[in-house]
Assembly symmetry: C2
């Protein structure tokens, strides 16, 4: 089954908006076993009709986003109706959705707004609980008289409206069109602390021996997703292999990132985390506090770029810094232990390293970093990592490694060698 | 002049990579006065040839990215040569670039690599200092015998290779093709602390009266760019209007973000910043330390989510928190002053608020936040902001507002009312 996207919007063409919808839809379709054969992006206006017609002539399914709103340059609905030769009629359900939407916000329903309630005869309405413009589905047979062969979906442009509509309205209809679509499952096993090539080395041969299992990898920010797709039993068989051979690296099976996993694990245990960051400059604290509910597990964070700050807030002895250098296992350990004592938390993560671009030496090049984890009643652990490269990437990978040390401790797993 | 993009790469179609190149090129073209009329994205392989041919039939200029590498599914170079009927010949300059590139890395030049040195007869090589595959430019007349009318550029896919090539090789050639292209200038005035509609209200009428001035707005992360384009004198006249009426809101005229502006201003004055963050959870420290060289101006950061941390590290009296609540002007001021004293810095920013989604009250709803700035020898200022909405957006806008208070103090501007 060949599938194409048409994303409409002048803002996409002039670069005011990055087209994240296209990538997201591409992933969702890949999870269904469908590869998007082409994406076409056109500005609002007349080019939309042309792009839909071309895509429909080439493909079995066309997903169009954008141009369903109330303004004059929103022409997607009318373009599709015209191409399929369908008359537009005011739809009662959509009209009452619009009435409710606007009355809740104390605004009148204007005639421009009501354009969004016009539905081409025979098209199915895809309700939009997160906005005003509904989506529309035109089964291929609607245009049969005009030689039309494609299933056509019109979707709103804003991601927060489009994404739930794809998941709840489009995907079930595509499953119904696909052979085996109904029984198809997709599982994402998210791994961290291990590179893609080591994952491949460890499991690919065995996974490829599972009949009908589709396998994919996607490198994320500090983690790697192993995507398993196929019938339920097949996916289960694949997952067993990955869990058996790489279980300790599996961060989540529900696409949670490490800061979510760690905050949830701390909350479940009723434990607190504190942080003392030098070169990561607050990146760990920032990630942890991105998680809703983190205030129940995180109370004290310190960014001790300066050596005096390490001494003052963490009680790191000046001569320890002098003897071993600020970037050392000894200082990292002292920072973590000082942070644990100063905060009264159950766990303390400390980081000291050289983010660069300046400050490296031959012995300790840019990218060198020590991470220490102190926990009540455990021996303090310190590990050295090396992440040369751009500053933002250094901060990302170092904060990932630190959170991974904590995740392992919380789950009773061995810390990385 | 009509311009189209063709981005090639299976990774774009299956959503493994977000197409940031398309948005970036769209912005660069808009700056030249060109609107991208269509973007076509196709997987590696045979679809590339078809997409280039279609785009060239519709447009004056076609920019193609990706598919220039050494592997079998990299077919862009060969597709273009075939479409224009040009023979491929090994190019001496590219060959020696490849030799130098690989010998520097201690790797052999393979025959697959050498495919990248094959240049269609008559095409101009666009050297790639940041990678192996050169770009290629086919002036329209090269294909005249086949009725070809488009200027065709082939560019590498990786952004760090593509961007400098567009700026240094493609844009000068496009300027030469455009009427007035050579004298055209673009200036971005980046504003913060003021919304787009207030900017429009303040300057749009006057700017529209400047002959030949092209005007655009682009909303960034906590800031807004006013884009002025046209001949030099015209852009200068427009910039004078914005500077005169909105000068205090202009953050940079060189696209620097506020953390860069603040770090550079602190460095120029030889001054230090410290931070005490509650609800932003390290976001300010994280932004400041994203700037290279920030270790010279930032030494102490505290993330005091917990009230005990506010007391212990910042000396905020418990009864002050009890009397006014943790989210109050009084506590924000005490945090900033305590941070200034504890760190010995010249300036201290403190933040206390309710990021949500939980924790709001009727009097202090989610999104309420107090920011205080204490500086040596100045009265401590506290300001209330209100940013309801998602947690990450709250953190972004609050950290922006805090850094803006500091920027204004460093530049001797009045703090926001």
């Amino acid at each position: 089954m060949r599938i194409e996207l048409v994303n409409t919007g002048t803002e996409l063409c002039i670069g005011d908006v990055i087209n994240t919808n296209a990538a997201w839809i591409g992933q969702r379709m890949a999870a269904l076993g469908l590869e998007v054969a082409r994406q076409t992006i056109v500005p609002d206006g007349g080019a939309v009709r042309e792009a839909i017609a071309e895509a429909a002539a080439r493909s079995d399914v066309v997903l169009v986003s954008g141009g369903l709103g109330p303004t004059n340059d929103d022409v997607t609905r009318e373009s599709a109706a015209d191409l399929l030769g369908l008359e537009l009629r005011q739809d009662a359900a959509v009209t009452s959705h619009l009435d409710a939407y606007f009355s809740k916000r104390g605004k009148p329903v204007t005639s421009a707004t009501l354009r969004q309630a016009m539905v081409p005869a025979g098209a199915q309405v895809l309700m939009n609980p997160f906005g005003t413009a509904p989506g529309l589905y035109f089964p291929a047979q609607l245009g049969a008289a005009r030689g039309w062969k494609a299933h056509l979906f019109l979707l709103p442009g804003p991601p927060r409206e489009l994404k739930p509509m794809v998941e709840n309205e489009v995907e079930p209809r595509l499953r119904a069109l696909l052979p085996d679509g109904e029984s198809r499952r997709v599982l994402y096993l998210r791994l961290t602390g291990i590179g893609e090539s080591d994952i491949v080395e460890a499991v690919e041969k065995q996974l490829e021996a599972v009949p009908r299992l589709e396998l994919g990898y996607c490198i994320g920010k500090g983690d790697v997703d192993v995507r398993l797709a196929g019938p339920q039993e097949t996916v289960d068989a694949g997952a067993r292999i990955v869990r058996e051979r790489l279980g300790e690296f599996i961060l989540s099976e529900d696409r949670r990132v490490i800061e979510e996993v760690v905050v949830h694990a701390l909350a479940a245990r009723g434990e607190w985390l504190a942080t003392a960051e030098s070169c990561t400059g607050g990146a760990i604290a920032n990630r942890v506090t991105d998680v809703s509910g983190s205030s129940a597990v995180f109370g004290h964070g310190l960014v001790t770029y300066a050596n005096e700050a390490k001494q003052k807030h963490l009680g790191v002895p000046a001569d320890l810094i002098e003897t071993h250098g600020a970037v050392s296992a000894e200082v990292a350990r002292a920072m973590a232990e000082g942070c644990l004592a100063a905060s009264g938390a159950d766990h303390a993560l400390a980081v000291t390293g050289i983010a660069g671009p300046a400050g490296g030496t031959e012995e300790k090049p840019v990218g060198t970093v020590w991470v220490a984890l102190a926990s009540k009643g455990c021996e303090t652990a310190a590990r050295r990592f090396f992440y040369p490269g751009a500053r933002d990437r250094f901060k990302l990978l170092t904060s990932q490694a630190a959170l991974e040390m904590l995740r392992r401790r919380l789950h009773g797993l061995p810390l990385p060698g």
